[in-house]
Amino acid sequence: MQVNYMDKDESPQIPRRMTRSSASSSASTSNNVLAAKVNSFEPLTIDDLLVGGNATSLNDIISNFPGRSNQILEIVRLLGPLNSPMLPLFVYGGSSTGKTSIILQLFRHLNRPLVYSSCRTCYNQRILFESILNQLLLHRKDASNGYSNAKRCDRPSDFVNFLREALTNVVNNLKEKSRKFSNKMTHGGIGNMIYLVFDNFQLVREWDKSSTVLPLLFNLYDLLKMPEVGLIFISSTSPDTFYSNMGYVEPIPVYFTDYTECDIRQILLKNQVNQKLYSSFLDVALLPLCRITRQIGELSTSLKPLYEKYCEPLTDKGAVPNEDMKRRLFSHFKPHVASSLSETFKVSSLPSAEVETCKEKKWKGNPKRLQQSEEMGDLDFHMSTSAKYLLISAFLASRNPATLDASLFDSKGGSDNRKRKRKPSMKVMEQKESLEEELLMKGPGTFPLERLLAVFQCIVSVADEPSDEEEQNDDGLGIHGGNGGLVSDVLLQLSSLCNANLILKGRSCPIEGSTRYRATISEDLALKVARSLKFPLSKYLYRR
């Protein structure tokens, strides 16, 4: 007998893209929805430990996971036929290589009960223990029991006792059931094995420095001594990264290799409406992206907007591309690839907002070039003037070597700087490039608070004079120009800059005064801020 908990909304249409957790067969039945709904208010049964859903054949699974047939067959072999005991399994491989999906699909195929717990959701040992016990004891949290767990279990020793108790119970149940079934039917029993699956197992290492939980879980097989219990660990790191010299039975490793480019192509091509077009798109786009990442998840998120770009010139998306068209599409598409390589996070904004900004821009009536530059120059969030100065001084302190502060900020600092710049020969340029690279690798430097304040003082005193006059001349608002006042709340401003992540504060005792800071802003942002103050930033930037 099989209970289907299928979704009534699951449509027979072909899913658009195939990714890690998606290997399910798309055919669905909705005849059991009612039963399931009724079932939800009844106590849980052993059947709820099954994965559920339609049984799939092994061949389906293999064809659904390109490049994974070896691993699938290996796991099936290790799991063995019905009711055969097994040694612990250790399934590992990089993220989004199909580990979890394949295990779950196989259990659906084999129709055997399992207790699944992800160590990400169960973020400490207590929750992991309680979650496993809840599942084994067929306990459901709801309002009536105050969302409490079946057992309160904090200590590993308690856990082992409870677990043994619960497991024997379940196994007895299973045995009884299979006896009944074997009378009625010849095939289709769920057997009397129960499997414990631990997903994201690598995270356990971080809990309490893995001193107790990790050995306990690896040792479960020996501790329980129950042949009816199978253990499966799924991890994204290899077994070597776990401390494993503890005298327990070594789990059998199954390694999921990274997908090859060809596999990736096949996976991405799955479930595409216009296979030909997508394939021609992949010809162009996949290679550069694959150099950066081979993770299906990342690839599919970055490919999606690219594909839309690619299809932009097409009116009919169902068209089968010929050579000429491919070439045209490519030339249209080419400039977008490079920019997308560095773009990991794309934010869409609502069309209405977009329109508004467009209007504003049109309204300015500038030619397009100018518009863009203006856009670049605008700082799109508000900072008080003194915070801006402080940010700039932090940026300078992070960028310039401390030894040059004196020469940069004394009265003739600017001219001194210019002298150095005068003759850029080839060699100097090369040197500069390599130094820039080095700077990029090293990142911004750190500085103590005193240096920041000194730079700030210099900058403010330099910048004040012209701006003061300006204000006096321009609008007569500068009576209480607040220039003296700029300095008054500096520490407050600094803390709010730190809060906004524009300046990083190193960790140390604040009373000691030895805290070091680091400006994390990019040069672009610093330039924008400087522009909004009309501050000549480049004059103070030390360039080698």
Partner: protein, 741 residues
């Protein structure tokens, strides 16, 4: 005054009860406790009790020694009235500000709500897992794409966060009222210390409404499937993304994304800086699970303009500020703080100071109260007279002697109010025009209050008139208006109007029409302008219809150009008329003191604490505070009876930026031992051996205690931020951090 400190943040919502509202003024006063000037302000801040104290020390009551009982009670009554007046006026201002801010946010909130609905429907389309599927720990296998968390990045555009706590609270209420389950979690929950358990606990507490011992997201899944919870979207608002601990947030997002099909949570992040912020905080494998959209809140400058417009230009109450105060507030906003919250706070302080220092300001309250009763403000001279008569004796003791004065004053006040009305209309018209050249109302407001500029304008106007007579045949008619010659924002605005294309000019004139609708004086003038616009419109229309299409282009453009110029100059004439006749700053009017707060020094003291300077002053002039008998004011000698840190700081004054610890200690020791030394010198004859026997123990003790006192004093100085402890490189030297006053 810390805008980022949690205490200020907590007291942010303007809807706080009066008690709380008074309490949150506390920080200012604590800072200034030492200064004697401020003492009376402290008392004002603390309500009646302190006020009574102030009375006893104020010169007025000191003049009349032990005044009669009636007067005393009268004073008391007066105090009560003052605080009542402040309460009422401030409540009015506060509610106005609140309305303005929520109006500003309305459109964004609607957008967000729309987006939430769309997301909710999208998750519904993905498939609806059954209850047992949704509540167990297995991932759902039957959907095609791995779920993404719909995420809204609400850009607040201000690195200071205080203003937006209120905004996000409002957003939460708004979404709740539109049928969402809303949880608001602050960044403090995402700390490294509490880890993921902390934020899950907060999440469950917000959604389920009860504290749960072991926070587990499966509880949320169970809850979500109960009753009608399933039919509402779950919205989680995290109001300052930048301050969240990245690693905890990453874990949280990954965990939510594991459950996204079963518990579709919609995230709303408040982002202070740019949309790049999540990229800086989160690693790519967390970002991959987000499906972000962006929403922009209004900039603080826009909010500020809206508040200024509602409170100070449109005069929701008659409370106003003088030019210098306005300028100070503006500079404080732009240079120092940049939050609307602190601006409101400053306004509140100004209001409080005004009511407590200006006895006649009670009139204001009376007028407001009457106005509320009758639905409109009644500011006729008669009404004013009535209010003045009703004032308690104490208030009009000095000012009003006879009926004549009273009457003239009432008339003056009434006139002041009408002139103010015209002034605000003029400012609003200018602002409307200024919108084309991106002028901020805050700046314009400051300029409009500027008395000097007004005087300059007047004189220029006079000069301009003379000039006009001489050089009337100028080419550009616009140049004739004196308004063009003056400097500043107004001139900038007018220049922009001169070059405005016709379509926009029509728009502008239309909006002027709306603004001036209830001030007949200006409206009449505007109607003249409008009629001329209409007739010109008609003319050009006729012309263009008459003209054959071929000629049309060239001829009409010429005509059109001319007409447009005419129109522009007429618009400028209108603005000129406004500026010349109605833009009279309130400070140039008689009796403005009653409604207008001008005392910038006091406000400055209250707002910019400058605590470090204060500490230094107090350490050096400790006598002003302690008023002890042993030290007299004049002598600069360091007496051992002084407080240790005070001695130490005075000694430190003699050093440069490095203080030799040994020298410092020695001089400290000498001062402390001064007294005992004197005594010792008397008994110096006593032989060494004897001393060793008797005093040795106590001397050691003495030495140790001096050392201890020294250390404590240095630590105190260090904590107050005046001195830095010796570094490893220079173990013998402490470093002075603060110099000068």
């Amino acid at each position: 005054m810390a805008p980022s400190s949690p205490s200020v943040a907590d007291s942010l919502p303007p809807s706080t009860t009066p008690e709380v509202a008074e309490n949150d003024l506390q920080p200012f006063f604590v800072l200034h406790k030492a200064s004697s000037q401020i003492k009376d302000r402290t008392s004002e801040g603390q309500g009646k009790l302190r006020k009574r104290k102030e009375l006893s020390s104020s010169p007025q009551s000191a003049k009349k020694p032990e005044g009669s009982m009636t007067e005393e009670s009268d004073c008391h009554l007066f105090q009560q009235l003052q605080s009542k007046a402040f309460d009422i006026v401030w409540k009015k201002i506060e509610s106005t500000i609140k309305d303005v801010l929520s109006d500003l946010n309305a459109s964004v909130f609607n957008d967000i709500q729309q987006w939430v609905l769309e997301c909710f429907n999208a998750t519904r389309l993905l498939g609806e897992p059954t209850i047992s599927e949704a509540t167990r720990s297995l991932p759902v296998l039957n959907n095609a794409t791995p779920g993404k968390l719909f995420t809204a990045l609400v850009i607040t555009r201000n690195i200071e966060f205080v203003d937006d706590i209120f905004t996000f609270e409002e957003l939460g209420h708004f979404l709740e009222s539109h049928g969402c389950h809303v949880a608001v979690i602050s960044s403090t929950e995402f700390s490294l210390k509490n880890g993921i358990a902390g934020c899950l606990k907060a999440l469950l507490r917000e959604f389920l409404g009860s504290a749960i011992d072991s926070a587990d997201i499966s509880i949320l899944a169970s809850w979500h499937r109960e009753q009608d919870n399933y039919n509402k979207p779950l919205v989680l608002i995290i109001n300052d993304l930048e301050r969240c601990c990245g690693s905890v947030l990453t874990d949280f997002i990954l965990m939510l994304s594991e459950w996204v099909v079963k518990v579709p949570i919609i995230l709303i992040f408040g982002v202070a800086t740019t949309v790049d912020a999540p990229r800086n905080i989160l690693p790519s494998h967390a970002l991959e699970h987000l499906c972000p959209s962006r929403f922009m809140l209004r900039t603080p400058a826009k909010r500020m303009d809206a508040i200024i417009e509602a409170v100070l230009v449109k005069h929701c109450t008659m409370f106003n500020v003088g030019h210098k105060v306005a300028l100070f507030l503006r500079n404080y906003f732009i240079n120092q703080d940049g939050t609307v919250t602190s601006f409101i706070r400053a306004l509140k302080v100004a209001c409080l100071l005004h009511f407590s220092t200006e006895p006649l300001s009670l009139l204001h309250w009376r007028a407001l109260a009457e106005g509320q009763k009758e639905g409109k403000s009644s500011l006729s001279p008669e009404a004013m007279l009535k209010y003045i008569d009703e004032l308690p004796l104490d208030a009009r003791r000095n000012q009003m002697v006879d009926h004549q004065t009273k009457k003239s004053m009432a008339e003056g006040l009434s006139e002041l109010v009408t002139v103010q009305k015209l002034w605000s209309t003029a400012v609003l018209c200018l602002y409307e025009a200024g919108k084309y050249s991106r002028v901020q109302l805050l700046d314009l407001f400051c300029e409009a209050l500027n008395q000097e500029l007004h005087l300059v304008r007047d004189s220029e106007c006079y000069a301009g008139d003379k000039k006009d007579r001489g050089l009337s045949s100028r080419n550009d008619p616009c140049q004739n208006y004196s308004i063009m010659q003056s400097r500043g924002l107004i001139c900038q605005i007018v220049r922009k109007v001169r070059d405005l294309p016709t379509g926009m000019l029509h728009q502008l004139i239309e909006s002027w029409g709306k603004l001036t609708a209830d001030t007949s004086k200006i409206h009449e003038k505007l109607q003249m302008l409008q009629s001329s616009v209409k007739c010109e419109d008609g003319r050009s229309l006729r012309k263009s219809s008459k003209d054959s299409p071929k000629k049309h282009a060239s001829r009409v453009s010429v005509n059109f150009d001319k007409d447009a110029r005419m129109l522009n100059s007429q618009a400028i004439a209108f603005l000129d008329y406004l500026v010349r006749n109605f833009l009279r700053p309130i400070e140039s009017m008689p009796f403005h003191e009653i409604f207008c707060f001008k005392n910038i020094e006091k406000l400055q003291l209250v707002l910019i604490g400058d605590p470090r300077r204060r500490i230094q002053v107090d350490l050096l002039d400790f006598h002003n505070i302690l008023r002890c008998s042993c030290c007299n004011k004049n002598s600069n000698a360091l007496l051992p009876s002084r407080h240790d840190s005070s001695i130490m700081y005075s000694l430190a004054q003699e050093h440069g930026d490095l203080i030799n610890l040994h020298d410092w200690f020695q001089s400290f020791r000498t001062i402390v031992l001064q007294h005992t030394n004197k005594r010792k010198q008397k008994s110096k004859q006593s032989p060494q051996a004897k001393k060793r026997k008797n005093i040795n123990g106590s001397a050691d003790q003495n030495e140790a205690s001096i050392q201890a006192r020294f250390c404590r004093a240095v630590t105190e100085l260090q904590i107050t931020g005046l001195v830095r402890m010796p570094s490893k490189r220079r173990p013998d030297f402490a470093q002075r951090v603060a110099f000068g006053l």
